[in-house]
C-alpha cells in the first residue's frame, strides 16, 4: 500500500515522536502563559469597559475593535517581522504569548463585560448603600455573580486560544503545528503528521470544550 497514509509513514512518525512531543510541550506552555495574560487583560478591561468613566471606556473600545477586526496572523507578523524594524526584538516565546494573549484578551474582555452587564444594576446600588467602593463592590458583589455567566464562553475562548497558537507555525514558532510542518515537508509524510497533530490538539481542546458545556448546563444557559 502506498498512499498518504502508508504504513511505513506511520512507523516514521512513531520513530520521530520526540519532534512532536517537543512541539506539543511548546504549544502547551505558550497556551498556558497566553491564557493567563488573556484572563488578566480580559478581567481588567471588562471591568473598565462596563464602568462609568467614558474616556477609559472609549480607550478599551478602541483596543477591542482594533484587535477583533484584524486577523491574528497580521498581529503576529507585526510582532515578529515589524517590531524588529523599530528596534524591538522579542523572543519567539514572547511573540506567541503576546500574540494570542492580546488577541483573546480582547474577546475575553467582551465576555466579562457581558457578564457584568447581566448582573442586575440593583446589586451594585445595594453594595454602594452598604458603603462599598466601586472596586470592592465589583470584586465582592458583581464579579462573583458575573463569573457564572462568563465562565462557559471564557472556556470556549481558551479552546480557541490553544488552537490559534498554531499561527506561530508561520513565524518558525517551534510549536506543534510548526514541528508537524517541518517534519512532513522534509519527508512528505504529511498524512500521519497532520492526523497525529489534529489528535493532539483534540486531546487538549476536547476536554476543555466538554467542561465548558457542563458549565453551561449547570448555569442553565444551555438550550
Amino acid at each position: 500500500m502506498n498512499g498518504p497514509f502508508a504504513g511505513y509513514k506511520w512507523a516514521a512518525l512513531v520513530r520521530d515522536w520526540d519532534v512532536f512531543a517537543e512541539g506539543f510541550a511548546s504549544t502547551i506552555t505558550v497556551s498556558f502563559v497566553g491564557l493567563l495574560l488573556a484572563l488578566a487583560i480580559g478581567i481588567l478591561l471588562g471591568v473598565i469597559g462596563s464602568s462609568r468613566w467614558k474616556f477609559a471606556r472609549n480607550v478599551v473600545r478602541c483596543y477591542v475593535e482594533a484587535i477583533q477586526n484584524t486577523p491574528l496572523v497580521i498581529q503576529v507578523f507585526f510582532l515578529y517581522h515589524g517590531l524588529p524594524h523599530l528596534g524591538i526584538m522579542l523572543p519567539i516565546f514572547a511573540v506567541g504569548v503576546l500574540g494570542v494573549g492580546v488577541y483573546h484578551g480582547a474577546y475575553m474582555s467582551e465576555v466579562v463585560r457581558a457578564g457584568i452587564l447581566a448582573v442586575p444594576r440593583g446589586q451594585l446600588e445595594a453594595a454602594y448603600s452598604q458603603g462599598f467602593s466601586y472596586w470592592s463592590a465589583m470584586r465582592h458583589i458583581v464579579l462573583p455573580q458575573a463569573k457564572r455567566m462568563a465562565y462557559p464562553p471564557m472556556t470556549n475562548q481558551a479552546v480557541s486560544l490553544i488552537k490559534n497558537t498554531s499561527v506561530l507555525a508561520m513565524v518558525a514558532g517551534g510549536e506543534l503545528m510548526y514541528q508537524a510542518d517541518s517534519w512532513s515537508s522534509t519527508n512528505l509524510y504529511y498524512g500521519p503528521a497532520y492526523v497525529a497533530t489534529g489528535l493532539l490538539y483534540l486531546a487538549i481542546c476536547l476536554p476543555l470544550a466538554t467542561y465548558a458545556r457542563k458549565l453551561e448546563e449547570r448555569t442553565g444557559v444551555h438550550a
Binding site: F5, A6, H81, M170, A172, Y178, S185, T186
Partner: protein, 270 residues
C-alpha cells in the same frame, strides 16, 4: 454510557476516514499495473496538469505584470506535453509550494511536479522521480552589513531555510564539520525568509543557489560557498509508472540532443 458510545462513534469515524483514504490509493495502484489508466486519463483529458513554482525567478515565476507563469521548468513541462500528447501547448500549470506539491500529486489534482523538487531517497518511496534535469548547490545570502564571509563566521547565527528543507540537512552537516553551531528556522515560502532576513530574525537566508539569486538586492550579498549538490527531478504519483517513464525518456532525449543545455542557457541559469 451514552456519552462513551458517542465518543466511540467519533473515533471510529476518524479511523474509517483514514483507512478508506489508504485503501483508495492502494486500489489505484493495482489498476496501474494493467493498461495504465492514468496515462489514458491524461490523453482523454487532452492536457497535462503540472505543478510549478511561482516564486522562483528563471525556474517558475509568475510575472506580476502579465500574470503569466514562465521559466525553465515550464518549458520542460511543454517538452513533456509534446512527448505525451504531441502538442507542447497542452499544458496546464498551477502554482505549488513545498507544502502543497505532495498532497496535490496524491489526490490527482496535478499529474507532475516540476518545481525545484530535490530528489531524496526518502521521497522516492512516496513518488516517482525522473532522472535529474538540473543540479544545484545550497547557497547562502547574508546582509552586507553583517560581515559574514563564510560558514566559519556563522557560530551562533540563525539560518532561515524553506520548509522543504533539504538545505537544512546539507548545511547542518557542513556546519558540524566546520565545528560551527547554528540554529535553523523554517518558513513556508521564500519571500517569508527574505522578510525574516530583512527584519533581522535570521542572519542567513539559505536555499538552493539558483533560487537565491532571484532575491538579491542592494543590501544583501550571496556567499561563494556551495553545499551538497541538490538534484532536481520531475515527480509523479507512485502508481503512475507509465507517465514516469515517458517523462524519463523525454529528459534523457533532451540531455542527449543538447536541448536541456539550451534551455538552461536560455534562462541564464548557472
Amino acid at each position: 454510557m451514552k456519552k462513551v458510545s458517542a465518543y466511540l462513534v467519533c473515533v471510529l469515524m476518524v479511523l474509517g476516514l483514514i483507512l478508506s483514504a489508504g485503501c483508495g490509493s492502494s486500489q489505484q495502484a493495482q489498476g496501474a499495473k494493467g493498461e495504465s489508466p492514468e496515462l489514458k486519463a491524461i490523453k482523454d483529458r487532452g492536457v497535462v496538469k503540472v505543478g510549478v513554482k511561482v516564486d522562483v525567478p528563471k525556474f517558475g515565476f509568475k510575472d506580476p505584470q502579465t500574470n503569466k507563469i514562465d521559466g525553465m521548468e515550464i518549458d520542460l513541462a511543454r517538452a513533456i506535453a509534446k512527448k505525451v500528447l504531441g502538442d507542447p501547448n497542452k499544458v496546464e500549470v498551477q502554482g505549488v509550494t513545498a507544502k502543497t506539491r505532495g498532497p496535490l500529486l496524491d489526490n490527482g489534482e496535478i499529474d507532475l511536479v516540476i518545481a525545484t523538487f530535490t530528489i531524496t531517497e526518502e521521497r522516492k518511496q512516496s513518488y516517482n522521480f525522473s532522472e535529474p534535469y538540473f543540479t544545484d548547490g545550497v547557497g547562502m545570502m547574508v546582509k552586507k552589513s553583517a560581515g559574514i564571509q563564510s560558514l566559519a563566521d556563522m557560530n551562533g547565527k540563525k539560518i532561515g531555510v524553506a520548509q522543504s528543507a533539504t538545505s537544512r540537512k546539507a548545511l547542518q552537516e557542513a556546519a558540524d564539520k566546520a565545528g560551527v553551531k547554528v540554529q535553523f528556522l523554517e518558513f513556508g515560502t521564500y519571500p517569508e525568509i527574505k522578510t525574516a532576513l530583512d527584519s533581522g530574525r535570521v542572519d542567513v537566508f539559505s536555499v538552493d543557489g539558483s533560487i537565491l539569486s532571484g532575491y538579491l538586492d542592494d543590501s544583501t550579498t550571496i556567499l561563494n560557498d556551495r553545499f551538497a549538490p541538490q538534484q532536481y527531478g520531475v515527480a509523479s504519483k507512485k502508481a503512475n509508472t507509465a507517465l514516469a517513464k515517458a517523462v524519463d525518456d523525454t529528459i534523457a532525449e533532451m540531455k542527449k540532443n543538447g536541448e536541456l543545455d539550451k534551455l538552461i542557457q536560455k534562462w541564464g541559469i548557472k
